[in-house]
Structure formats: structure tokens, C-alpha cells
């Protein structure tokens, strides 16, 4: 940052905006909570939250909606970060929702727990009386998200109504809700994938190894490399091969694809991301391929 000219560079700008949002929510809501998936965006979110309240601890818990289909490296990483920050961790389990008969497991080779998460999430929100949930969604990820507010209002059913969003002016956020309603808050709305990586490099933020190129047994489906794991049923013609891959996004093992890559360092990742011609969700998310408006439809039901 240049002191003499009173200008902030773009990462400082984005960081300041996110910190402002974290503090505003902490000041105005009774039971906020940070949704943490172990993905790079939520890792950056945790880093920003720590900065916003330093030298105090996070004034809210961290919640993980656990599909039971996670990358083991990511779970280990989650526990380590939570311990370092001395934060409270709440785990909402999709398996538990299945066991209790609240949702029914999909079957077949394309089965995914992606959609089931919504029920588990909404139940956890009710159980813990969360009124504001921080999420790491970015507007550059997906066209429905490009339209979403920083404070995204949800009704009693957790639904998003894209046609009836509150206008959001300057940096003045409307946090008024009724009992039973809640908001989702997206402090890194204005960040792009490249910003995230540049920030991770600048701040030396630690991230799970799955983001760096590594050898992994994978099979090809819909033009993506999926990890061979106990959570996925392969069709007969889906043959497992070993490839050098890395993940651009990290979600469920059953629906997150890897990309072939040689990028073993942050610098190489930044170079790769700068040159890529495919969006990260386009390259790696089977869940968005259901239809043109798959994300909008899931969000209306209460998805992240």
C-alpha cells in the first residue's frame, strides 16, 4: 500500500470491504455463524474473520455441513485451523439427517449428497437459532450468484427470492429480520478466483494439499476427472487411471472434479489460473450441470 498517495491496492480494498462486513454482522446480529467447507474460499473467509476481530477470538462459531463424503485431508485441515484459532466448531451431519429419515439418499452412479445438504443446513440453523450465516460465495463464480446481494435475505423456509431482493446501497447494510428468518452474508462477493489465489499467496494462508498438483487415481466422467473413492459408484466403462491433478474447488468427493495440472506451488497456480479459459465451476462441478439455472433453483430452496 502506498502511504503518500492514499491509495489502496485491489487486495487491500477487497480485504477492507470484507472486514467491514464481518464486523457489521457481528455488531447487529445475535447468533451469527461462519459456514466452513474446507475449501479455499472458506479458508480465506476464516483468515479475514480472524483479522477483523484481532486480538479477540471470533465472536461466532464455525459450522461445517458434513456430507460424510469429504476429502480426508480437508477434514484434518478443518480441525487443525479451528484449534489454532481457538474457535467453536459446530458439525451438521448429512448422515444424521439420513439416519433420522429426514432425507433419502440418492442411488445410482450419479448419486450425490449435494442437494441433501440443504435440509441438514436448515435444520442446523433452526437448532442453533443462527440468524446470520457467513458464506464464501463469490459473484464471479456463477451467473445466479452475480445477482446476489452481500446480505442475502432468507424467509422462514430458508428460501431466496431473486426477484424481490433488498436494494443494497453504499456500504449500508439492512440487517433487519423477523424471528425465524435469517440472512446469508457474503463478505467476499467481489473477489474473483484470481484474487483469492493472489491473497492466499500474499498472506501465506495455509491450504490443504489437494489444491496442489499430485498423483491420484481418477476416472473420467462428463469430461471431468473424479477421484476414485468409496463414495462413488463407477459404471463399467469408467476406468481408473492415475493422473497428475489438482482441485480448483473442493466440495464433495462425489461431485467435485479435478483438473490435470503441473502446478505444485502457489506461484504456479496463480499462473495457471491467470491463463485458464474455463471457469472454476464449469471445470469442476457436476452439480451445476443439471440445467442452465441449476444454481438459481438450488439457491431458492435454501442452498448456500
Amino acid at each position: 500500500m502506498s502511504i503518500t498517495t492514499y491509495e489502496l491496492n485491489h487486495l487491500d480494498h477487497l480485504e477492507a470491504e470484507a472486514i467491514h462486513i464481518f464486523r457489521e454482522v457481528a455488531a447487529e446480529f445475535e447468533h451469527p455463524c461462519l459456514m466452513f467447507s474446507g475449501g479455499k474460499d472458506s479458508i480465506v473467509m476464516l483468515h479475514l474473520a480472524a483479522k477483523a476481530f484481532w486480538p479477540a477470538r471470533l465472536p461466532f462459531p464455525v459450522m461445517h455441513v458434513d456430507t460424510g463424503h469429504n476429502f480426508p485431508e480437508v477434514l484434518a485441515f478443518r480441525d487443525q485451523r479451528v484449534q489454532e484459532l481457538d474457535a467453536r466448531l459446530v458439525v451438521a451431519s448429512v448422515q444424521k439427517s439420513i439416519d433420522e429419515g429426514k432425507v433419502v439418499e440418492e442411488t445410482g452412479p450419479r448419486a450425490s449428497r449435494n442437494r441433501l445438504q440443504t435440509t441438514t443446513l436448515l435444520d442446523a440453523i433452526e437448532e442453533h437459532r443462527f440468524d446470520a450465516l457467513f458464506g464464501g460465495a463469490r459473484r464471479d463464480e456463477e451467473k445466479a450468484r452475480a445477482k446476489e446481494r452481500v446480505y442475502s435475505f432468507r424467509d422462514d423456509f430458508g428460501q431466496w427470492d431473486p426477484k424481490n431482493q433488498r436494494p443494497e446501497l453504499w456500504n449500508l447494510y439492512n440487517g433487519r429480520i423477523r424471528q425465524g428468518e435469517h440472512i446469508r452474508v457474503f463478505p467476499i462477493s467481489n473477489w474473483t478466483e484470481l484474487d483469492i489465489w493472489q491473497y492466499i499467496a500474499r498472506e501465506n494462508v495455509e491450504i490443504p494439499q489437494v489444491y496442489f498438483a499430485h498423483e491420484r487415481p481418477v476416472f473420467s466422467r462428463d469430461g471431468m476427472w473424479l477421484a476414485d473413492s468409496e463414495f462413488v459408484t463407477r459404471a463399467e466403462d469408467e476406468v481408473v487411471v492415475t493422473r497428475k491433478v489438482r482441485y480448483r474447488t473442493v466440495g464433495d468427493m462425489s461431485c467435485t472434479g479435478a483438473v490435470e495440472s503441473e502446478a505444485e506451488t502457489l506461484e504456479q497456480i496463480i499462473e495457471e489460473v491467470s491463463a485458464t479459459r474455463i471457469t472454476e465451476r464449469g471445470a469442476t462441478r457436476a452439480d451445476d450441470r443439471v440445467s442452465e439455472a441449476a444454481m438459481e433453483d438450488r439457491k431458492k430452496e435454501g442452498y448456500f
Binding site: I3, T5, Y6, L8, N9, H10, D12, H13, L14, E15, A16, E17, I19, H20, R23, E24, A26, A27, A50, K51, A52, F53, W54, P55, A56, R57, R139, D140, E142, K143, A144, A146, K147, P162, K163, R166, P167, E168, L169, W170, N171, L172, N174, R176, I177, R178, S189, N190, T192, L194, D195, T276, R277, I278, T279, G282, A283, E292, A293, E296
Partner: protein, 418 residues
């Protein structure tokens, strides 16, 4: 790298989406899978050409109706700057969405169809840009290809626009003749218009000087959150967290806290990364004071010799955004200004302004959706503000409906008193 936010407004036919599409396409900011997806959708919808508007119109309803309903944010970068585009709809019925997109913009882009000249919509957009004090206004005279790149036509539009803009408060006005469809003067200088000596749109956006648009004179720090760790290590720590809303703060500066009026000194400005020697907008920092005085959220830290206006009565321009109930005198609303929340009553509605003609209608009964007017408000507690034209952070507010909780107005402070 610097950041620039710009807002565009336009309707279906003036080529706004094509222009944005062109900027994104020519700066290689459209990804292959996005392009394939909109190509497929264009074919499905029976369009003759790839409809670049589909890049920004992401909602089902927008695609079905072929219009932009809500603000869409798009991102692109060049080696010089990072850009955020707030792409907003142009119709009168979406004035509130335009105001939303424009509220944070450094530059406003207004499109004028070279064949039609300055129309009602261009005037409305220019008025909103001036009302919201967007520091730089760029008028793109589009579809130059359809009038044989004629310099005279361009000059005529320019003069017509200028004479209208004289009535407005616009400090930096730039005209660029473009053809969004063919890319003339969008990213590269056009070879079809040798008579035009200015820069291309992208070059202008990369170079326009925005560093001095922010107020670095009047020190303003609205206290957002009090940090008290309550841990053994930081037992007595008490820091005031917030975002600098104006001016520059340094350790040892003498400061005053409003509303108490107590003075103290800044003992340190803290951040996770270490002490800060100078804090300025829009940095988010934590301040500590040498004296143990009562400071809480909603208070304003400033300089004893440079204070904001402190008053319960304010004069403001408001853009009304409620679909259900109109604004009328005696109405009570919740207000949010900086980090301070209050209740206000509308004590007077002086006039309504016709956003197309700038005509003032005195003493109207009410303001309905998308209407802009001048009001007097009385607050239950004092507010610490500056005129919006002096400081966008301390001169803006929102009004909220206390029953529905909806955001019903954007407000711009023009003065104090009744």
C-alpha cells in the same frame, strides 16, 4: 493494482449489453464454457447471433423476458486496473436498481444511440449520476457504424448533452464515439474515425484519475464494533473497530468523540498485521485511545477542530423504493447512517423532481416507487453527518420500513435544519 468501479445503465436496444460483452470479450475475460453456454442458449432461443446479454442476465425471469431486471456485477482486469462493473437496467421502473448500482461507482457510463441523440433515458441517467455524485461521467455515443462514423452527428450529440449537463453537477464529462458491435473505440482506437483524437473507452477507464475523489481532508471514523478480547493475554485491551469514512488518522492525533464531546489522543492504530502509521479510507482498522472514555457503536471519532454537523434535523434528497406504500409527511421510518441507527419522521416533503425533465413539482402529497424528492427528516437522536457532496460516506443513509423491514429509500444529505 488499483480498483475501479463503474456503473452502466441502458435498455434493451441501446447496445449496453453488447458494449459490456465487447469489453469482456476483447480483454479475454469471457471464459470458454461461458461462451459455449450462451451460444447454445442463443440458438435455443432462436437468436440470429450470439446474445452477449445472456452473460449478465443470469436469472430465469431475465432470460425469459430478455431484459435486465436486477443489478449484475461483472469483473475483469487489465494489467493496469481491476474493474467491477455494476450492470443496471435502464427503464424508469428500475430506477432503484440503477441507484443501487451507482451508489458505489467511481465512473458512470451512459450510452446514447448516435441515430437518436439525447433521449429521455440519457437525461435520466445523467441526472442520477450527478445526484449520486459519481465523480466521472463517460458518454458513449454508440452505433457510430450506422451513421457512417460521421463526426458532425457525434458533435451534435455532444453539444446537446453538454447543454443539458450544464444544469447538473457534473465535474468530469467525457464523450467517446463507439460502435460496440464492431469494437470501434471500445478497446482499440478506431481506424474508422480518424477525426476522433481521444482515447478508447478501455484506455480511458484505465487512466481516469480517481485517487483524489475520496475525501482525505475531514477525519471521520464511525465506531462500528468494540473489540474487548477478555483473554488473559489481552486483558485490558479495548479497541474501536471501524472503517475510515474520511480524512487521515495517525497515532498521537488529538481526537474528539461524538456525541459525548470528550477529547483524547490516539494511542495506536492496530491491525492483525501490526501497527498502522496512517489510516485513511476505506481502510478497516482498530483504534485505541489514551483515555478510558465511554465509546460505543454508532459514535463518531473526528478532530476537535473539524467536526461533522451534529443535528437531529436533516435536509435530504431521497429516492423512494417501496412498491407497497408511498412516502408521505408524518411517516415514521428506521434510518441507518454510518454505523448509527435511529428512527426518523418525515416532517416535510418539499418537492418531487421529474427525473426526465428536472422539473420540480412543489409540495406533492407523496413519493411513490422510483420517485425522487426533497424531504426534511427529524431524528430521535442526533446524527453526525457531512453534506453528501463533501463526503459520500457520511452524507448517505438508507430508510427502512419498520413493519416489513424492507429498504425503502436511499438518502443523500444536502443540509441540516428544518
Amino acid at each position: 493494482m488499483e480498483f475501479l468501479r463503474f456503473a452502466t445503465a441502458g435498455s434493451v436496444d441501446d447496445g449496453k449489453s453488447t458494449l459490456i460483452g465487447r469489453l469482456l470479450y476483447d480483454t479475454k475475460s469471457i471464459f470458454q464454457d461461458q461462451m459455449e453456454s450462451i451460444e447454445a442458449t442463443s440458438v435455443q432461443m432462436g437468436n440470429d447471433y450470439t446474445n452477449l446479454a445472456l452473460l449478465t442476465d443470469g436469472l430465469r425471469a431475465e432470460r425469459e423476458q430478455g431484459i435486465t431486471i436486477d443489478v449484475a456485477y461483472r469483473y475483469f482486469a487489465t494489467p493496469k486496473r481491476k474493474f467491477i462493473i455494476a450492470d443496471t437496467p435502464g427503464h424508469t421502473q428500475y430506477t432503484r436498481n440503477m441507484v443501487t448500482g451507482a451508489s458505489t461507482a467511481d465512473v458512470a457510463l451512459v450510452l446514447v444511440d448516435a441515430r437518436h441523440g439525447v433521449v429521455e433515458q440519457s437525461r435520466r441517467h445523467a441526472f442520477l449520476a450527478s445526484l449520486l455524485r459519481i465523480p466521472h461521467l463517460v458518454v458513449c455515443v454508440n452505433k457510430m457504424d450506422l451513421i457512417d462514423y460521421d463526426e458532425k452527428a457525434f458533435t451534435a450529440v455532444k453539444e446537446e448533452f453538454r447543454s443539458f449537463a450544464m444544469k447538473l453537477d457534473i465535474s468530469d464529462l467525457t464523450f467517446i464515439p463507439v460502435s460496440a458491435l464492431h469494437g470501434d473505440n471500445v478497446v482499440e482506437r478506431s481506424i474508422n474515425m480518424p477525426w476522433y483524437e481521444g482515447s478508447s473507452l478501455l484506455h480511458h477507464l484505465e487512466e481516469v484519475h480517481i485517487a483524489s475523489d475520496r475525501n482525505h481532508i475531514d477525519a471521520r471514523f464511525p465506531v462500528q464494533y468494540v473489540i474487548r478480547p477478555q483473554s488473559d493475554e489481552h486483558h485490558d485491551y479495548r479497541g474501536y473497530a471501524g472503517t475510515i469514512a474520511g480524512g487521515v488518522f495517525k497515532p498521537d492525533d488529538e481526537v474528539m468523540v461524538l456525541p459525548s464531546g470528550f477529547t483524547s489522543k490516539i494511542s495506536s492504530i492496530d491491525s492483525f498485521d501490526g501497527p498502522v502509521s496512517e489510516a485513511f479510507g476505506p481502510m478497516a482498522v482498530t483504534m485505541r485511545l489514551t483515555d478510558d472514555i465511554d465509546v460505543s457503536r454508532g459514535d463518531m471519532i473526528c478532530r476537535p477542530n473539524n467536526q461533522p454537523t451534529s443535528s437531529q434535523d436533516l435536509q435530504a434528497m431521497v429516492c423512494w423504493m417501496s412498491e407497497t406504500s408511498p412516502l408521505s409527511p408524518r411517516m415514521k421510518l428506521a434510518l441507518k447512517h454510518t454505523t448509527r441507527s435511529s428512527r426518523v419522521m418525515v416532517t416535510d416533503l418539499q418537492y418531487r423532481i421529474d427525473v426526465n425533465t428536472l422539473h420540480r413539482e412543489e409540495n406533492p402529497e407523496s413519493l411513490t416507487l422510483n420517485e425522487i424528492g426533497r424531504v426534511s427528516l427529524r431524528s430521535t437522536q442526533p446524527l453526525f453527518f457531512d453534506e453528501y457532496r463533501r463526503n459520500r460516506n457520511t452524507g448517505s443513509f438508507i430508510l427502512l420500513d419498520e413493519v416489513t423491514n424492507a429498504t425503502v429509500a436511499a438518502g443523500i444529505i444536502v443540509g441540516s435544519g428544518t
